[in-house]
Symmetry: D2
Subunit: 122 residues, 4 copies
């Protein structure tokens, strides 16, 4: 999909994606591509914040598509809404080259211990 | 439910709600109450922005509950994500007395002409 | 809100709610009322399936409002989509008196142990 | 992404997708891939039902990931929840080779006239 991470901190994960190559038949950016971008950077943000003993698994995602975009690059920014011990949630805003918001998404992640006992599987 | 509007502009709608009287059996604020607050102020914000010839109808809503709250007052703030001609979407953040975010929601509204023709009903 | 439980099994939770008393200013059933109904029966279903050592807390909810309704009673039916050890998710369909679907919702619940250790709080 | 449509009727759209080639770094099917599948078949279903004078644009999508999957093929099935004149919404269930539900999604689409007048743009 050509997603490129350009900033990677616990408070902010940013990535870019080219519109070209990720379009649906009408030539618009595929809504699903926006969601892949959102789920990717939201999960990365959750993993960074999960700490060394846990990993993050996306459980719920939602997205509202505000505008279509036909060319250029889009940029997604993930920021934390809540950083808990077993759950984390992140907001993702995706803008086009003209800095217009094309999609807003939110992802909830479960934080799983790396060596879960028998009662810890989701 | 005791929702009280305290700020009402196109760019920001704010309302408060008491936790007491809106709890589920464990004594926590009912998640549904947070969503009623979110849907109320999101719809009000959409209606203000719809202009005189249209009204707003909520079509999609989602909410992530971050923390529980057992007492006091919660405050919801709705801000626009996108103000289109036929659709509008609004972000809602709900905080408790300690300014901790307890819920994040997003609502999409269809903007309907007040006298729709036969092909305009949703 | 006048929500009345009429069926309560692990595989299906049903409740009714009167439209009257739960309307927004235009006289339509408030979208938030549908979500309260959904979150209530979804949480009840999750609690029934959580077993004696755990309780369910709603973490994510979403709803799509398909039609407006102005009178009568609506009926919500919650059925399980997934019953895991730490998460459960439930589908809720709400129909009006004429059995037309007015709202579809989905709720995800975290299942919390009743006496969580220090690393188990959400 | 290797999405293959295998059934295409107004009441049901089915497609398959290989897990291999659509995984995240841990070797699990990428949650975003499930959402692309959901958004694709939901949009196709909405387009089929939109009729010749309109096209469908996805506006809201949400997904709950129930289980992980590491190999084989997943199958998505989109069915209509509501077919209105200006909005349509579709449920998508995605199952793995063992017919276990791995993801449930819902998509809302705006139905746009092919030659919209000046007040019809979203």
């Amino acid at each position: 999909m050509g997603i490129e991470l350009v900033e990677l901190t616990p408070d902010r994960v940013v990535a870019t994606m080219h519109v070209e190559g990720n379009t649906q038949p009408y030539g618009l950016l595929h809504g699903g591509a926006s969601v892949v971008l959102a789920e990717t950077i939201g999960s990365v943000a959750a993993s960074i914040n999960a700490g060394p003993g846990r990993f993050a698994v996306g459980t719920d995602i939602n997205a509202t598509h505000h505008r279509s975009v036909t060319q250029g690059t889009v940029t997604g920014v993930a920021t934390p809404l809540h950083r808990g011990l077993t759950m984390g949630s992140y907001e993702v805003a995706i803008v086009d080259n003209g800095d217009r918001c094309i999609c807003t998404a939110r992802i909830a992640c479960a934080l799983i211990e790396r060596d879960p006992g028998p009662t810890r599987q989701a």
